[in-house]
Symmetry: C2
Subunit: 335 residues, 2 copies
């Protein structure tokens, strides 16, 4: 029994290349009492993993040392066990790294899955996993969206943004997306069912949002920060809420130096803005997952995926995702 | 019986002059059933009143028309009544305008006062009125300050900021002030009892805050926005809270065009920022007032005041306050 792993090799300058990774195959140790062996089916690729590699991609320092296993969330199944709580056949999700197999004692897992009929297994790393849970928590708990309100979402063609809009529609909100270019805007409206989508690459985003949402915005789900945040804030209603899920705009030089002008609106409009953390709301995850599973089964929520084949293709799939080549959630099918 | 009033006459350019006001004396009408006549003892002067006058002081449009009574909060006593709920001798506070007398039916009042022994009557327009209540709500409800945490406050020599720090000390928080110049910083530490005060007019505010608060800041009570907000945000701890009480920096040209750079910290540090409104928390006002009264009686909270004499001096006192000539709350003693 052997395990294939992707290791961090060296700090990239800008976009990574395959040279920044090492692929190694190592023997698996036997399991001890309390442990079990997982065979991993899917690996989730996400932008935060690039941040961990350093090299000026963000303001944060590098997190990984050369030779470290690349960090990432996987979905696996127990194939051998010495732990009665995790019998053979149990499916789990955890941030266990870019590797085909792993020994665990259960303490390093996010959750155990009972895959629901008609929900694809891969969805438990996307809409039924951290992606969908992030959308749900940000919209319903941090954003306190109520039926009849207007919800605006940036990066609306992405996996989190797309799910936010679909959840908003399912709770009878108006959903307005912000995305880059006509193709992505078309996806947001036609595939995800948003009421409208505006193009941040076209002129005067603030006026575009106003035209799409003449009654103003109650919840702005912010994935990007920067100039888009200014345009969104100008359209907020009094007592509007801004859950902050990410700051994609800060990951390039122009965006990182941008100063937000409309901060006085916090006072004028009694706005609330909050950077939320998924782990703080762990008690609500099962509720979020169950609701999203039901919407998928009822064909009321779609989760788009781009799936690369084989762990040896994980670095190239990761680079492609950072270049924007993926549609929806980027996964690697490991076996 | 006659009533002396200060009316809005014309839109100032920048700082108002006495010519922008009219002082008139008019006869008082008799009271009808359900009404009562108030004799006003004190008028509260506040920066928002300048905003209502227009003339490029802020981004908001002018609120007053020529001939309108100037808007402001007064403290008065019932001297004649045809309303059983408001017997002669009742003290009340309400936004009833810059005038010596007024007829009311009680629906336009903020609250009835039962002046507490050893609390000066004027305090009910300051520390025991909206000033203190604003400090209390922002610190305890919006800011969720807890004993042992560090509270940072801008405009700390002002009436709201000074009260925030004193309330923070009374609940066993560390209190750090931000003020302009060594004299104001001295007041904040020596008179108000803050642990430290940093000078935003001196170089490198961000490093000054860090030196005063090496363990970071849990609550930043923001009265100013702008560059001071950036410096405060850089020092916030994870899950820090930023209640927004005002944006003084937006009232001059340089400040109004400033862009806040550190917005990515909302995501990195899971910060919460909220523009709060006093009226939303009306149910908590009695609790806030009672707590502040007790602190005043126990000599644990001081409320500094600058008091002008006579309604005819209200315009010049107002102009002086806008020039920063007052220390603490600016009041006019009307009779």
């Amino acid at each position: 029994m052997s395990n294939t792993q992707v290791l961090f090799k060296s700090e990239p300058k800008g976009l990574p290349t395959p040279d920044n990774f090492d692929i190694v195959t190592v023997p698996m140790p036997g399991i001890e009492d309390g442990q079990f062996l997982l065979k991993n089916y899917f690996l989730s690729l996400d932008p935060y993993q690039r941040m961990l590699m350093g090299g000026g991609w963000t303001y944060a320092p590098r997190f990984l040392a050369p030779g470290d296993l690349m960090i990432g969330r996987v979905l696996g199944e127990v194939i051998e066990t010495k732990n009665a709580d995790f019998p053979v056949g149990t499916h789990v999700v955890g941030r266990l790294g870019w590797q085909t197999h792993v020994v665990s004692d259960g303490t390093d897992l996010d959750f155990i899955i009972t895959p629901k009929q008609d929900v694809p297994l891969s969805a438990y790393l996307g809409a039924c996993g951290s992606t969908g849970t992030t959308a749900w928590i940000g919209l319903k708990i941090t954003g306190r969206a109520k039926a009849g309100e207007t919800v605006l979402v940036s990066a609306a063609a992405g996996s989190v943004g797309g799910t936010v809009g679909q959840l908003a529609k399912a709770m009878d909100c108006k959903a307005i997306g912000i995305a880059g270019g006509p193709d992505k805007c078309k996806t947001v409206v036609e595939d995800f069912g948003f009421d409208a989508c505006v193009d941040y690459k076209a002129p005067d985003l603030e006026a575009q949002i106003r035209a799409a949402s003449p009654d103003g915005v109650d919840v702005y789900f912010d994935n990007v920060g920067g100039a888009v945040l200014d345009a969104a804030m100008a359209n907020m209603n009094k007592f509007g809420r801004i859950p902050v899920c990410g700051v994609l705009s800060a990951y390039n030089e122009e965006g990182a130096s941008y100063g937000v002008k409309n901060m006085h609106l916090f006072f004028d409009k009694s706005l609330t803005m909050e950077g939320f953390v998924l782990n703080v709301h762990k008690a609500r995850w099962p509720e979020a997952r169950a609701e999203i599973e039901d919407l998928i089964v009822a064909d009321r929520l779609i989760s788009r995926e781009t799936v690369a084949q084989g762990i040896e293709n994980a670095p190239s799939a990761f680079i492609g995702m950072l270049e924007g080549k993926n549609v929806g959630k980027q996964l690697v099918k490991l076996v």
